[in-house]
């Protein structure tokens, strides 16, 4: 059986990859998200960020009193372009046959 242990299941980020990240001096949740891709898949971190924080606290890389998730990016859950196009959001969209 594989020894790999997954922290982020959407992006297949393993515990060994987190340790690699820490060894490179990247120790904050924002840096780790970007270096490993953790939390950038369909769940957008909802499954893995708490686990990441716990691992960082165990490694002494994060103070539990100041632990924060990375910046949440909308939408809250995946939404199709069709749904967003049908909602009346934003400025009037120029029709395709516009002049100029």
């Amino acid at each position: 059986m594989s020894e790999r242990r997954f922290v982020c299941r959407c992006e297949d980020v393993t515990l060994a990859e987190l340790d690699h990240c820490l060894a490179r001096g990247l120790a904050t949740v924002e840096e780790i998200k970007r270096y490993t891709g953790l939390g950038t898949g369909p769940c957008q971190g909802k499954e893995c960020v708490a686990l990441l924080c716990r691992i960082l606290i165990d490694r002494g890389a994060l103070d539990p009193a100041t632990a924060q998730p990375f910046t949440a990016r909308p939408p809250l859950e995946p939404v199709t372009f069709a749904t967003l196009a049908a909602a009346s959001l934003g400025p009037a969209t120029t029709p395709a046959k516009e002049p100029g």
Partner: protein
């Protein structure tokens, strides 16, 4: 961990009290410059100081496009250099940059747009960029899912492409450090003041350092440091939104730009559709405030425009949206070189949303100038003094997003 791990700076990296060059801002510009300068001038002491983490600014927030298709010969030549540089850069920097040359496909749906593409193609032929004009059906042969029913003309350059911006930044950071530059992250420069013929930089940690020359590579955030020295330059931040979708198998080769709406979209090597659009400013003035909030109005506007042009994406899902600032220069040209009244305080700002793609070339040519004074036609053109002397001219009309 293994010996080939070269740290790329940290919040605890010690800095010497005196340096030859202090680069403020560890975005792609500051780091490409640090890398080339550290290689060219091995005896120079170089420090790079970053307020946040690597890729926290515009270098981590852009769409990763690189194109030769500009409206001005100087920009076309510069981007030919930059794209050429990218071809060997993954090996040179020792990191996968996810550089993929799928071309840029520009679509014109108006007579004015058509004329721009015709004029550009003539210019590109003169300069030697392999751009060709395409009939709508030929554009559709490249991207079969496009609705080209009202496209009048398209242009395509197969050498244009996309990268994943983050590893670019880490690659330059790693190699800059490996060549001796000191890279300190999570540390702000809170104050800059002239001391004799040097500058003293006060840091948020309470430290200070003296620098013979300072480079302001803070882009959209550059106004604050400049103002402390009485340097008044006209570049301004401007908020731009972007989003990415769920990942799909590769289906889209080029980055597509619709000239009329300012919509652009490409498929990253990760499989996500990455897309942005020109969005009219909100009426609350927030677009020039460096506020990085995402908006619903962007989602609605871009989704309508995208679904119209590329109906098949209607059922794709948006995963996340974010914001990054353009650092807009009033004439569309970058602001690079000695500051008015402060020849040893050097700007590398004002790239108007296109700094990332230009950085591979700019890092090299600016390093040469700092190392031994070698000039370059673009450096002459980008002189920060041009605004005060009335020499600013708008040459470029292919600014997208």
């Amino acid at each position: 961990m293994s010996a080939e791990l070269h740290a790329m700076g940290s919040a605890t990296q010690p800095l010497p009290p005196e340096v030859d060059v202090a680069i403020v801002g560890a975005g792609i510009m500051g780091l490409a410059l640090a890398y080339h300068l550290a290689r060219l001038a091995r005896d120079l002491k170089i420090a790079v100081i970053e307020r946040g983490y690597l890729v926290s600014g515009a270098s981590g927030r852009n769409g990763g496009g690189l194109r030769m298709q500009w409206g001005d010969a100087g920009n076309v030549r510069l981007m030919m250099e930059s794209i050429d540089e990218c071809k060997g850069l993954a090996q040179e920097l020792g990191i996968n940059l996810w550089f993929r040359q799928g071309g840029y496909l520009f679509l014109a749906r108006s007579e004015a747009g058509e004329q721009r593409l015709v004029r550009n193609a003539e210019l590109h032929a003169e300069v030697g960029a392999p751009t060709r004009l395409l009939a709508p059906a030929e554009a559709q042969a490249i991207v079969p899912q496009l609705d080209v029913s009202d496209v009048r003309l398209a242009s395509f350059n197969p050498e244009d492409g996309v990268v994943f911006p983050w590893p670019f930044v880490w690659g330059y950071a790693t190699q800059a450090v490996r060549h001796g530059a000191r890279l300190r992250t999570h540390t702000a420069v809170t104050r800059v003041e002239p001391v004799g013929d040097r500058y003293r930089l006060q840091l948020s940690t309470g430290e200070s350092l003296l620098a013979a020359r300072v480079v302001n590579a803070t882009g959209a955030w550059s106004h604050g440091l400049n103002a402390q020295l009485g340097i008044h330059l006209p570049n301004q931040p401007h908020r731009h939104e972007i989003l990415s979708s769920e990942p799909l198998k590769p289906f889209l080769d080029p980055l597509v730009v619709d000239l009329g709406s300012g919509l652009y979209f490409s498929q990253s090597t990760r499989g996500e559709l990455v897309t942005g659009i020109t969005l009219p400013d909100a009426d609350d003035g927030s677009d020039t405030s460096l506020s990085l909030h995402s908006s619903l109005r962007f989602l609605g506007h871009i989704s309508r425009t995208l679904v119209q042009l590329m109906p098949i994406v209607a059922s794709m899902k948006v995963l996340r949206q974010w914001v990054g600032p353009y650092d807009v220069s009033p004439d569309g040209d970058a602001i690079v070189g000695p500051s008015p009244g402060h020849p040893r305080f050097v700007q590398v700002c004002g790239f108007t949303g296109h700094g990332f793609m230009m950085a591979p070339a700019v890092g090299r040519l600016l390093a040469r100038w700092l190392a031994d004074g070698t000039q370059h036609p673009m450096l002459t053109r980008w002189d920060p003094g041009r605004f005060a002397s009335g020499q600013a001219h708008r040459r470029e009309d292919m600014i997208i997003g």
